[in-house]
């Protein structure tokens, strides 16, 4: 039966063009598809592997979404504050001043046998450590709840949910990049630390990328676990604190007297040790030599393996569990 006004010839076509992107949606929606059929079967290993391999394509396709969400998140953090966009710049400066003055002047904790122009080494060492660690820790602690938090959105709007933890990781990296920029600028114009070697700075993009991949992988695992087990968040909060102290942020492993070699090896199992070591090689201009007696490329290589491993495992875990997210949250 036809109950519709037939008298008007043709549709009053609005100026909206038919959209171009029709295919490929199934892949993103997390559903398992054969010839366009969405079935109840859980994703197979091969499909998960394919999906992981296709991650860069997903990144390209949803770049607009990622960009807009990251921008929105940053905006949400700073709009409404009096200082607004000065905050991401001001925070690292304040942080730096605290570490610089407290550890260089007040506590005068100096490293032995160093020339006076390197007095501030402890302050700089801690600042770089805190800067990198904060970005990572924020990503994993806040990221743990990101799927549960956005439960209503996930239930009601079909979109690639892996974007949610990615946004958080990227937001924290952008905030960290502000800090990095301020620090590099300060070293360039102020006599606080020898300026960085421009060649070393070429490592920065790679370091940021690897850090992003590693943080993303860990966040994916935690966010997935949190959906099924809400205790995850509490555990992560404690675990992150423990992790912070076993990572050389406030202490220099080389300077701990009588540290047995086995202990040092244990410290080096920690992927964050390698990340921090690599960052510090770049940011501290490999000065002083006593700290930088290792090989940066080795550390970077080890961290890259960690990053890849955590991403493949984390994303795979996430993909395998994702189809039931909407039912569980």
């Amino acid at each position: 039966m036809s109950a519709h006004k037939q008298s008007e010839p043709g549709a009053q076509a609005s100026s909206i063009d038919p959209s171009t992107s029709a295919g490929g949606e199934i892949l993103d929606s997390g559903a398992h598809a054969v010839e366009g059929w969405v079935t109840a079967a859980p994703p197979r290993w091969m499909e998960i592997a394919l999906h992981i391999l296709m991650a860069p394509r997903l990144l390209v396709r949803h770049w607009d979404l990622i960009k807009t969400s990251v921008w929105r998140e940053l905006q949400a953090r700073f709009t409404g504050t009096v200082l607004g966009w000065a905050w991401p710049l001001l925070t690292p400066v304040l942080m730096f001043l605290i570490y610089y003055f407290i550890f260089t002047n007040l506590l005068s904790s100096k490293m032995p046998d160093l020339p006076p122009e390197l007095d501030s080494v402890v302050g700089i060492y801690m600042f770089t450590g805190v800067l990198v660690w904060t970005a990572f820790a924020e990503s994993i602690t806040r990221g743990t709840n990101v799927i549960v938090e956005n439960g209503n959105l996930i239930k009601k709007v079909a979109f690639p949910t892996e974007i949610l933890p990615l946004n958080l990781v990227l937001v924290n990296l952008v905030t960290m990049a502000f800090g990095l920029a301020m620090f590099l600028l300060a070293c360039l114009v102020l006599p606080i630390w020898p300026a960085q070697n421009p060649l070393d700075l070429c490592w920065v993009p790679l370091l940021l990328l690897l850090q992003a991949i590693f943080s993303y992988g860990v966040t994916l695992v935690l966010a997935t676990m949190q959906v099924y087990l809400r205790d995850t968040m509490q555990v992560v909060a404690v675990a992150a604190t423990v992790w912070m102290f076993i990572t050389p942020i406030f202490w220099v492993p080389e300077f701990i007297p009588d540290m047995p070699e086995t202990m040092l090896e244990f410290v080096r199992v920690n992927p964050m040790y390698h990340l921090l070591y690599s960052w510090r090689v770049v940011l501290m201009s490999e000065t002083p030599d006593v700290i930088f007696n290792g090989d940066m490329q080795t550390s970077l290589g080890i961290f890259a393996l960690w990053a890849l491993g955590s991403f493949v495992f984390g994303y795979g875990f996430f993909l395998a569990a994702r189809r039931r997210f909407a039912d569980e949250i």
């Binding site: 039966m1 036809s2 109950a3 519709h4 006004k5 037939q6 008298s7 043709g10 549709a11 009053q12 076509a13 609005s14 100026s15 909206i16 063009d17 038919p18 959209s19 992107s21 029709a22 949606e25 199934i26 929606s29 997390g30 559903a31 398992h32 010839e35 366009g36 059929w37 969405v38 079935t39 109840a40 607009d64 979404l65 960009k67 807009t68 969400s69 929105r72 905006q75 949400a76 709009t79 409404g80 209503n152 959105l153 996930i154 239930k155 009601k156 709007v157 079909a158 979109f159 099924y228 087990l229 809400r230 205790d231 189809r323 039931r324 909407a326 039912d327």
Partner: protein, 438 residues
């Protein structure tokens, strides 16, 4: 994957796992599912249907019957537990108003965000934004944070964005309820426009009227089972009948305390007046007919029942309604001062010399209470009225008219900006327009 269908659903089931607590979940997880800690709740059972491009299906049923779950599965936010489905083309869904809106951002920023989330590109959204703003009609509010919006405004914004991304298949959960009549009409128009452009629509509503209006087909879900599937008028009528009778069934498996309330409701229901049937007849030939020419006579007969006419006097209304829900004409007994007599019977309304012009009309019968304020029932006549006219008149109705040349009548004073200087003799008195012919 060449297919003639826009949406195909085959043997779809959905069940949810319900865990008594987090501990059972851990036990089940650690035993790799060998120890079952959950019970299953079945939300949908064996749903099958196919939709051709340009057709629409309405989902009806009580709360918790699985309507929203079905839409969520089709939208891809949750997965089926058994069976399969396939959608050909781009899907857009409006499952909840303002899902994904960030309340601290302006309407404009949310349009961008929401559109991109639904899969449009940034350039596309930049191009579409003026149109969306135009359709949503939020005025200056578009640059205010969404948290300052009323729910109706949120609906407008959400609906506008969902429509603008130009889906091939549109899934709409019950969202119209909050909008004002004007915007509801606009949404309905938009949905018609989509249908004309060969888009497919799945629509879920408690309003059977909307289902009948907007959908060719309907699926009635009863506790997750497909109770009926077919053309929207017969399915919704079946549903209405069931709703009325179901109350007995309900009482059987209810506790005693609830049974009291139910039997009271049953009594109310059995005492409630109802329209039993309504048909359109051609008075001259006396046969049931639904095709008329402008100028024909027509008779609408309504069979009704009212067990307690002394306590609840009733009134009837018969209206002609366009498919887009515009009421073209309405005839009401309480306006005309006509009384329905007895506890059962047939009342007819005779319309002589129809002045409706060519169109399809739905004939709606409404049963009112004695004051004409409360609607007991809305009944749509099964078949649509089709009216044709042979003349070249335009518009919706033929107005009884004739033309005259009246050179002797002067222009009233004060009419228009440019008043001619001539023939103003000052004797016009008060303007005839003011004393209110209405």
């Amino acid at each position: 994957m060449a297919t003639n269908y826009a949406v195909e659903v085959e043997g779809l089931h959905k069940w949810f796992r319900i865990y008594p607590g987090p501990f059972q979940r851990i036990v089940e997880g650690l035993s790799l599912g060998r120890i079952k800690g959950h019970r299953e709740f079945s939300a949908l059972r064996d749903i099958n249907f196919k939709l051709k491009p340009g057709s629409s299906i309405g989902l009806c049923g009580a709360n918790g019957a699985g309507k929203s779950t079905l839409l969520k599965i089709l939208a891809g936010t949750t997965s089926p537990s058994a069976g399969r489905y396939r959608i050909n083309g781009k899907v857009s869904s409006l499952l909840e108003l303002g899902a994904g809106f960030h309340s601290d951002f302006t309407g404009r920023a949310n349009i961008m965000m929401n559109g991109i989330m639904m899969g449009a590109s940034k350039e596309e959204m930049e191009r579409l934004t003026p149109e969306i703003i135009d359709f949503a009609e939020l005025g200056d509010y578009i640059d205010e944070p969404v948290r300052t919006y009323s729910s109706g405004m949120g609906l407008r914004l959400g609906f506008s964005v969902a429509m603008a991304v130009d889906p091939d298949v549109m899934l709409i959960d019950e969202v119209f309820a909050v909008g004002d009549m004007y915007f509801q009409k606009k949404c309905v128009d938009k949905i018609y426009e989509l249908k004309k452009r060969n888009k497919t629509i799945a629509f879920c509503s408690h309003s059977l009227y909307d289902v009948r209006q907007l959908c060719d087909e309907a699926l009635w879900l009863r506790d997750g089972d497909p109770a009926a599937l077919g053309d929207s008028v017969s399915v919704t009528n079946e549903y209405t009948v069931w709703q009325r009778n179901h109350i007995d069934e309900e009482a059987e498996h209810l506790s005693e305390s609830e049974a009291g309330a139910v039997s009271k409701r049953r009594e109310e229901l059995s005492n409630a007046p109802e329209v039993l049937d309504a048909r359109v007849y051609h008075p001259q030939s006396g046969e049931e007919r639904y095709e008329y020419q402008t100028g024909d006579d027509m008779e609408i007969r309504v069979w009704w029942r009212n067990p307690k006419p002394e306590q609840n006097p009733i009134n009837l209304a018969v209206g002609f309604v366009y498919p887009d829900m515009t009421t073209v004409a309405g005839m009401l007994t309480h306006i005309d001062g006509f009384k329905l007599e007895g506890s059962e019977g047939c009342t007819s309304v005779h319309c002589s010399k129809l002045n409706l012009l060519s169109n399809q009309f739905l004939v709606a019968v409404i049963l009112f209470d004695g004051e004409g304020t409360h609607q007991y029932q809305k009944y749509l006549i099964r078949e649509n009225l089709s009216i044709r006219h042979g003349t070249k008149d335009v518009g919706m109705v033929l107005v009884d008219h004739h033309w005259n040349n009246r050179p002797e009548i002067a222009l009233p004073t004060g009419s228009g900006a440019r008043i001619r200087e001539a023939n103003v003799d000052g004797t016009q008195g008060h303007s005839s327009g003011e004393d209110g012919g209405w």
